[in-house]
Symmetry: C2
Subunit: 223 residues, 2 copies
DNA sequence: AACTGTTTGTGACGCCCGTCACAGAACCAG
DNA sequence: CTGGTTCTGTGACGGGCGTCACAAACAGTT
């Protein structure tokens, strides 16, 4: 019932044989919430693929404030440059929940990508998608206020939630602090904007979840 | 004397034969300052490589404020996802100066990357570098104030200027407005911080150039 | 030189949001 | 239930920076 290799975007389209050789190189590790999978600036000695749980990739300022760059879900990979040696991690990876991940040594990773053009193409696609996401993040952080970023965050979460238990009930697996880090804002600011939206009867706030009362109303505020 | 194909990072390491077939697919176009090479949201029908001049890739908010994501110099490419069709440009490309660029149709581009694994690996490397640059940009825009971003910009410009005419004389091929767009700030704010640095005798301001009076002093302000 | 358009510097103003402080809510282990 | 820990909401405060406005410097043209 848990994630298998062939379900990961990275190894999509590989033959059974190829998957077997990949599998032989992987080592599985587990992490508790808050554990670091790697630190920014470390030499990039391995690559991981999330098997279960959630991992955030972030940067931290000397002030202590964080900016989350990506939240990795099962199947996602942190994979970076397969090319140059002495490449150092540009972000820190931290487990948001208890989680498990497959690790692949740098040398195995490089060898595989060099040998397997299918893998190389997949990597290109994944990189391009991340570049696009980063572009959007840059625009939002730089040009949009917290209010809009928060609304967009809620609508995004609503769009990508697969469990469609009830239409507008949005389970929130993030603390306010984590939301703030994703938005590049302070915890208190997020709380304030949420109350404001509640006041305006656009959402309702329950423990661990947020009820979207007026989706189109929210969408209008994005313009 | 002008840029040739084999000097571009994208086509690095290709054989003479391969370069010839690439060349056969390229069309050269020229642009005046301010011309758009493509618009955000357009269907991504071609890829370009800058031959001369400078091009900025940016996003624009409804308020009119811009954030520059990258400044492309000769040899650089805007190349994005070779994989999926219906991929739309995630940024707008505008000529900062009069410039020339080679254009490659999407179909030719995809075919080449599919057929040539060397090219695919190069693309991975370029993407990875851009991802890293974007990470840094996100951190700066989100977590650092304009003061630090400006100082870092000056030091970066100083580091990458190859014409070492005089040590600390820094020719600035950008208007204040363009600097502001790169930093994600307002024109006036940049002007104010520059005057402040001049007041502190860390820099001196001349038309079209900035003199770095105290490099280590600037570096200390970054901490 | 005079004219026009662009680029730059600076003052005034206001708001968004980050920080500090604290109290109430929720959660968990025993 | 109970105490401790984490999470959450809210008030007060101040600073950074975006916006508007205007004048001075500069560049290019006829």
């Amino acid at each position: 019932m848990s994630l298998t290799l062939k379900d990961t975007p990275l190894f999509q389209g590989l033959s059974e044989n190829e998957l077997e050789t990949v599998k032989a190189c992987l080592k599985e590790k587990t992490f508790a919430k808050g554990d670091l999978l790697f630190r920014e600036g470390e030499c990039c000695e391995r690559v991981f693929i999330v098997r279960s749980g959630r991992v955030k990739l972030y940067r931290i300022a000397s002030s202590g404030r964080e900016q989350t760059l990506e939240t990795l879900n099962p199947g996602d990979t942190c994979a970076c440059n397969p090319g140059s040696p002495n490449w150092s991690c540009s972000t820190t990876a931290e487990a948001l929940t208890p989680c498990a991940a497959w690790f692949l040594s740098r040398s195995d990773y490089v060898r595989m990508v060099q040998a397997n053009s299918k893998l190389s193409h997949t990597l290109n696609k994944l990189f391009a998608e991340r570049l696009r996401n980063f572009s959007t993040l840059i625009e939002e952080v730089s040009l949009k206020d917290v209010h809009k970023r928060l609304i967009k965050f809620l609508l995004d979460m609503l769009a990508q939630k697969c469990d469609s238990a009830k239409e507008e009930v949005l389970p929130i697996p993030f603390t306010r602090e984590e939301i703030a880090q994703r938005l590049g804002a302070a915890r208190e600011t997020v709380a304030r904007h949420l109350s404001e939206l509640k006041q305006a009867k656009l959402i309702d706030i329950k423990p661990k979840q947020i009820i979207i009362l007026n989706k189109t109303g929210l969408e209008k505020l994005l313009i």
